[in-house]
């Protein structure tokens, strides 16, 4: 390879010194690319250049040919940097692959479809800002008579949030038949989170149970952005009452339970704060503008509605959403 390289380089130099042609410069660019692909360090080029020059100009002053030794030493550093760069590129590819696997695993933590329950129309959308999400939601079907719903926002984004999410998911799985209702669920999750997370980590969460027979939504919240209730009769919104400390900060916290009665067509709308804190024209979207957005799509079935709301938000935010976005609708059919 060395001999071949040397000959090619000699041809380039000779040709260029004779006619100063643009095409020779282009050929030099191509050769440089080829050399990088073949991991030829820059100092070898300097050495080839010195050899060719000595051959082309037999009377080359000794000072000039000696000076190439300095240039050669200087280029060795660049050669090392090039090899480091390559090894970093390989490392990056490995990390990319690991993240890809983690993204796939995280998907398995979320339900793969909205629950179908007679007497309740459910829609949910959750889109991460980056590859991995810090928003979590879950549905727990209690023998078709009631449906448990959870929506949580884990502080931070990316991998740390995703790891924390798996803890919530498995802690919830342990609560198959929760006693003590929504307050009990949050109380127990709080003690799991409090024992297991870093001091500056916390989770906000809302957990509710919709009872099909009496159309009641009983819920408790742990520091989560309050949701809305949409009232079909006059198209108005009520803010859901909330009270309760975020999960993971203090031991043995009790969470107050609230209850809402849904009339036909009424809906509960839950979301993560990424939605109301989306930046639209330099301002936070805010709760009032989000209500307007919700109102525009309430004529649609719940799943189509949340998808349309997200799409509209994404467009209004100029396709730049910096936080994870989750919107969930539970609606009693008209």
């Amino acid at each position: 390879m060395k001999v071949q390289l040397y000959q090619q380089y000699r041809e380039l130099i000779t040709s260029y010194l004779q006619d100063k042609g643009e095409d020779t410069l282009y050929a030099a660019q191509q050769m440089s690319k080829w050399m990088m692909e073949h991991k030829i360090p820059p100092e070898e080029m300097v050495s080839a250049h010195a050899e060719v020059l000595k051959e082309y100009l037999p009377n080359l002053p000794k000072e000039v040919s000696d000076s190439f030794k300095i240039l050669l030493e200087m280029m060795i550093g660049y050669g090392i940097a090039l090899r480091e760069h390559e090894s970093l590129l390989n490392r990056q590819k490995e990390l990319e692959y690991e993240i890809e696997v983690a993204v796939g695993m995280q998907q398995t933590l979320l339900p793969n479809h909205s629950p179908r329950m007679h007497g309740l129309d459910v829609g949910v959308i959750s889109v991460p800002a980056h590859r991995m999400s810090g928003d979590y939601y879950n549905f727990v079907d209690h023998d078709h008579s009631s449906l448990g719903v959870a929506l949580a926002d884990i502080i931070g984004k990316g991998i740390p949030a995703a790891l924390c999410m798996s803890m919530i998911k498995y802690a919830m799985d342990q609560l198959d038949h929760p006693t003590g209702g929504p307050s009990g669920v949050l109380g127990r999750l709080n003690s799991v989170v409090e024992r297991n997370v870093d001091a500056s980590m916390f989770i906000t969460m809302v957990y509710g149970v919709y009872e099909r027979e009496n159309h009641k939504f009983r819920y408790a919240t742990a520091g989560h952005e309050p949701g809305f209730i949409f009232r079909e009769k006059d198209g108005s919104f009520e803010d859901m009452a909330t009270k309760g400390l975020v999960l993971g900060v203090a031991k043995e916290i009790s969470y107050e339970e609230f209850s809402i009665h849904l009339e036909p067509g009424d809906a509960v709308i839950l979301f993560s704060d990424g939605v109301t804190e989306a930046r639209v024209e330099g301002q936070f979207l805010g709760r009032e503008r989000f209500k307007e957005l919700v109102r525009q799509y309430m004529h649609l079935p719940a799943q189509e509605a949340v998808e349309a709301m997200y799409q509209s938000l994404y467009e209004q935010a100029n396709y730049e959403l910096k936080d994870d976005q989750t919107i969930m609708i539970l609606r009693r059919p008209k």
Partner: protein, 105 residues
């Protein structure tokens, strides 16, 4: 998108940190680096947030970390001078129930 933090030592056991700017995922580590060592040295830390224009949940995480660290050794964290937006954030997250808050001086 910057944060500045100035310390005004009051006594061996108490100090005030005056924070200004934005506390978000990028700047929160600076606040944490300044605040956390103090939680081991002082009994009482006043955090003046009057000039904080914006704080996100990462910033809240730092406050919670400091609160826990001080509580573990019987000390206390006091928040001073919060904007309406920050007050709302602390109220929703339930932190007003556990962290001491004083009006701006």
């Amino acid at each position: 998108m910057n944060v500045t933090i100035q310390e005004h030592t009051q006594s061996d056991s108490a100090t005030t940190l005056v924070v200004s700017g934005e506390v978000d995922a990028y700047t929160a580590p600076q606040l944490r680096e300044k605040l956390m060592p103090l939680t081991k040295q002082k009994q009482e830390i006043f955090l003046d947030l009057t000039a904080v224009e914006y704080m996100d949940s990462t910033g809240l995480g730092v406050l919670i970390g400091a609160y826990k660290s001080l509580r573990a050794q019987g000390g206390r964290l006091v928040l001073v001078g919060m904007s309406a937006r920050l007050s709302r954030l602390l109220k929703i997250t339930g932190l007003t129930e556990i962290i001491d808050i004083e009006d701006g001086a």
